[in-house]
Symmetry: C2
Subunit: 211 residues, 2 copies
């Protein structure tokens, strides 16, 4: 019987990040849907799992965690022996992975989230996209991908020669962006395009998309 | 002879974060000042150390790193035997530390950085503070500190019973905020106030302030 529970929503990129990681490790889990539309995440009992009221929340036996990137790191370390390693056991290699994990969280995610909001969520809500915001955020994202392009010219993955948490963390926002004209920012950079195609094709991610 | 080099600026909170960590481990290092006013960080050779053009950059022998929180994590792991442990070696305890490290980076830092900009940097540059921005960001910070207050009522530090990287990461922005009226947001929450006083009094941090 599985001891892992994920409280989340399939609309949440942070939830998908955790599911992709669980799939990489072939771990069973119980998915407990949280109804974001009715604001279930802003009320008890959800607030006892994450006082900031955001999905996902995660339980493994008696351990309660939130913040998707802390959860994936826990899974990678706690289930190191299952599936492929998602973090390096070498201190220097792990440090390089950490650098690019910070880049994802601090530099790639903010423009990606704003572009997803403008180009995917707003149209769904019947609100007008702000083209000025799109222009500024697309330029921000392009700058980050320029650095990725230079790195990926001599490294198969962002954290080194092997797929790691760093690459995995990019997948959920990539899913949304690839359904918008912003995909050109990826496709016009050949190494970025090849990397994105490679990581999106992983069975662990395809399994998330099939949910 | 030390092999550690920090390329940075004493005006940069990210640089101070790394120096505090090196002091906790009593590690010698060479400090190489980067002149932010002349834009030295946006040109070669600095860009070869950090392609995003931000301080600090860090070298330990042949290893080059950037992103302050990746650097402190490397120091904590690579010099685990020196000074006190700054990360737990227990997987579950480390996971809880990681949760709060994410909270610092994603929730505490953004309003703190904006408040520092409005209340400390703008006056230095002779520009007017935007009071509306201050109000909004102070409310954001207050919400985060409400969660800290509840946690610190039953935990001496954010990551658990021992001082860790999580607490250390807060120090540089706290230094600036405590010199502004925003300090009341800390002082009006007794557990937060006691925690802030405790971590600011650490010799490692006092040594940074004496630079």
């Amino acid at each position: 019987m599985t001891t892992i529970k994920v409280h989340g929503s399939f609309f949440s990129t942070a939830t998908l990040r955790v599911l992709a990681c669980l799939n990489e490790k072939s771990l069973d889990y119980e998915f407990i849907p949280v109804d974001l539309r009715s604001g279930e995440h802003k009320k008890d009992p959800f607030l006892s799992l994450n006082p900031f009221g955001q999905v996902p929340a995660f339980q493994d036996g008696d351990l309660n965690l939130f913040e998707s990137r802390a959860i994936t790191r826990y899974i990678a370390h706690s289930y190191a022996g299952k599936g492929i390693p998602l973090v390096s056991s070498d201190v220097e290699k792990a440090a390089v992975e950490d650098v690019w994990a910070e880049v994802e969280a601090q530099r790639y995610e903010p423009p990606s989230a704003k572009l997803t909001w403008e180009l995917e969520i707003k149209p769904m809500l019947g609100t007008a996209t702000d083209d000025d915001v799109v222009k500024v955020q697309e330029a921000q994202l392009a700058k980050v991908l320029d650095v990725y392009e230079a790195l990926l010219a001599h490294s198969k993955y962002l954290g080194g020669d092997a797929f790691s948490l760093v690459d995995l963390h990019h997948l959920p926002t990539m899913k949304y962006l690839m359904a918008t004209p912003v995909k050109e920012v990826f496709y016009t950079r050949p190494h970025v395009a090849a990397w994105a195609a490679d990581i999106m094709a992983r069975p662990s991610w395809q399994k998330v998309l099939a949910c």
